[in-house]
């Protein structure tokens, strides 16, 4: 926290942002009337197969909405700049960085986050189980993103070569350096490692 930020200023800031939130709807209406095509703030998202109505600021990222408005905190924000992959989600089946997509861009799309890939009876996804079996994660922070990239890869290529797995997971950093274990995990999930 900024050392210049005293407790009093912090509290005042919270009160102010609370006030801004309550008047947000009014501000939005003013914005919407200012021109054609301005985005509606109250939208319904399709997240993990469920309809989720949510109030979304115009420049809000999907990672922010998932974590702070829908309480889906499995999606991690690492760099928040599209440079680490911890926030990877599937948008219409395609792996994307949730930190670098506006929530307003996914209104008409199906979003799958890490919370949405296990079966309805709670059985883990094959990639999740294989990552456990291969001891793939170390600290685990990048794991949700690695899993989402692996799921996207296996959906389009069910039996990838090791090199293809390497390319498929290349947009996800692991600061522990557990890459080989993740690659083993994906190969196991694809039935290529006994």
């Amino acid at each position: 926290m900024n050392p210049k930020l005293t407790r009093r200023r912090f509290i005042k800031g919270v009160i102010f942002s609370g006030a801004a939130a309550t008047t947000g709807a009014g501000m939005y209406l003013a914005n919407a009337q200012s021109g054609q095509g301005a985005a509606e703030r109250l939208i319904t998202l399709n997240i993990n197969g469920r309809s989720r109505p949510v109030d979304v600021m115009p420049t809000e990222t999907l990672a922010y909405t998932l974590r702070y408005k829908l309480d889906l905190t499995g999606t991690k924000i690492g760099c928040n700049r599209g440079e680490c992959g911890a926030c990877t989600v599937l948008i219409d089946g395609v792996a994307n960085y949730a930190c670098s997509v506006l929530t307003h861009n996914v209104k008409d799309k199906a979003v799958i986050s890490i919370e949405g890939i296990k079966a309805t009876d709670g059985t883990l996804h094959a990639v999740q189980q294989a990552f456990i079996d291969e001891n793939s994660p170390q600290c685990g922070f990048c794991t949700p993103g690695q899993i989402m990239s692996a799921v996207a890869l296996l959906n389009s290529n069910p039996t990838p070569t090791r090199e293809q797995v390497r390319a498929g997971l290349s947009g996800n950093l692991c600061r522990c350096g557990a890459y080989e274990h993740y690659i083993n995990g994906v190969l196991r999930a694809s039935g290529q490692l006994a």
Binding site: A39, T59, N105
Partner: protein
């Protein structure tokens, strides 16, 4: 630099017709910011290094997506993603130079949403400029990179004019090598500009890397069949295989007959703000055998006129050897 999780609040327009987008872009002019995939945009906004009153999100305009065959080549909608460009069979079959360039941009996730139009329109990579310092390109009156202490390992060798930033696009050199044409629309109509003229160096305009002006929208890229199925060479050298921007890249197309080069396009990226067509090398190899010997004999020409900065001298032999490889391959 303070780190911000969120972007500043701005208006967001999401037109689904190109006519609406043109009207909004015209009305907002420099107060509006066009967004394709947003992969360059969001960093600028999160860092508070640039701002605008409103985002004009073009990603819902379906007519700006897709790859079409035309009477004399292909047309690629500006919002076609880099993954779609890299995986397109039409492009792969005849213009694989562009497929190869698009396939190594950034990371898989960024290619899945980043667009061809955005890749060629992205701003230069200079950390001083991107940090929001008031440099020449940002409207100030000095360059922080071209100083004895400046970190300029990634910066330009050629065409420095106050600003020494290098262009970041991998697809831009490929499009110049393919003699592509950029289709630009505004409320007054449609105009076309050759890829070579689309990119602008700091001597001509220090605040923009392209000819696009407020109100303009790059709607498509046309590739003529002039270089279809030519002998292509693409190579990108970067510190990392993923995410990273080119230190130097080379995009080349050769028409070869009986082992002899009839005609060629040899374009280097990341050595100046714009893609650099090496016309002196092209002239020197015309009529020569396409082999390593020719490559060795002309490679010095590739760096003719280079002015190195404190830390980017390695780019000279790198550029020369990439050109040699292109001719040797």
């Amino acid at each position: 630099m303070p780190a911000h999780d969120v972007m500043p609040n701005m208006d967001l327009y999401q037109p689904v017709q190109v006519e609406d987008a043109l009207a909004i872009a015209d009305r907002l002019a420099e107060r509006g910011w066009l967004v394709g995939g947003g992969q360059d945009t969001y960093g600028w906004l999160k860092d508070r290094a640039k701002s605008a009153d409103a985002l004009i999100d073009l990603s819902g305009i379906e007519s700006l997506r897709g790859i079409r065959e035309t009477a004399n080549g292909i047309e690629i909608g500006a919002l076609t993603t880099l993954t779609e460009v890299a995986e397109s069979e039409i492009i792969h079959n005849s213009y694989s130079l562009l497929s190869q360039a698009a396939a190594v941009v950034a990371s898989p996730q960024i290619r899945n949403i980043g667009t061809l139009g955005g890749n060629v329109s992205q701003d230069v990579r200079c950390w001083y400029y991107r940090r929001g310092l008031s440099c020449y390109r940002a409207g100030g009156n000095l360059c922080y990179a071209d100083t004895p202490q400046g970190m300029n390992r990634e910066h330009a060798l050629f065409e420095q004019s106050r600003c020494v930033a290098a262009g970041a696009s991998d697809t831009a050199p490929a499009l110049v090598a393919l003699d592509a044409t950029m289709v630009i629309q505004n409320l007054d109509g449609t105009r076309t500009v050759s890829a070579e003229d689309f990119f602008v160096g700091p001597a001509n305009d220090i605040e923009s890397t392209t000819v696009l002006r407020p109100g303009d929208i790059l709607t498509a890229v046309r590739i003529p069949n002039t270089w279809a199925n030519a002998t292509f060479y693409w190579e990108k050298v970067a510190d990392r295989n993923v995410w990273d921007f080119s230190l130097v890249n080379v995009a080349a197309a050769f028409k070869v007959s009986g082992g002899t080069i009839q005609d060629s396009r040899i374009v280097a990226g990341a050595v100046q703000t714009t893609p650099r067509r090496l016309t002196n090398v092209e002239a020197a190899v015309r009529g020569q055998a396409k082999n390593a010997q020719t490559g060795e004999s002309v490679k010095a020409l590739a760096a003719e006129g280079a002015r190195t900065l404190a830390h980017n001298g390695f780019k000279v032999p790198l550029l020369q050897n990439l050109v040699k490889r292109a001719i040797s391959a």
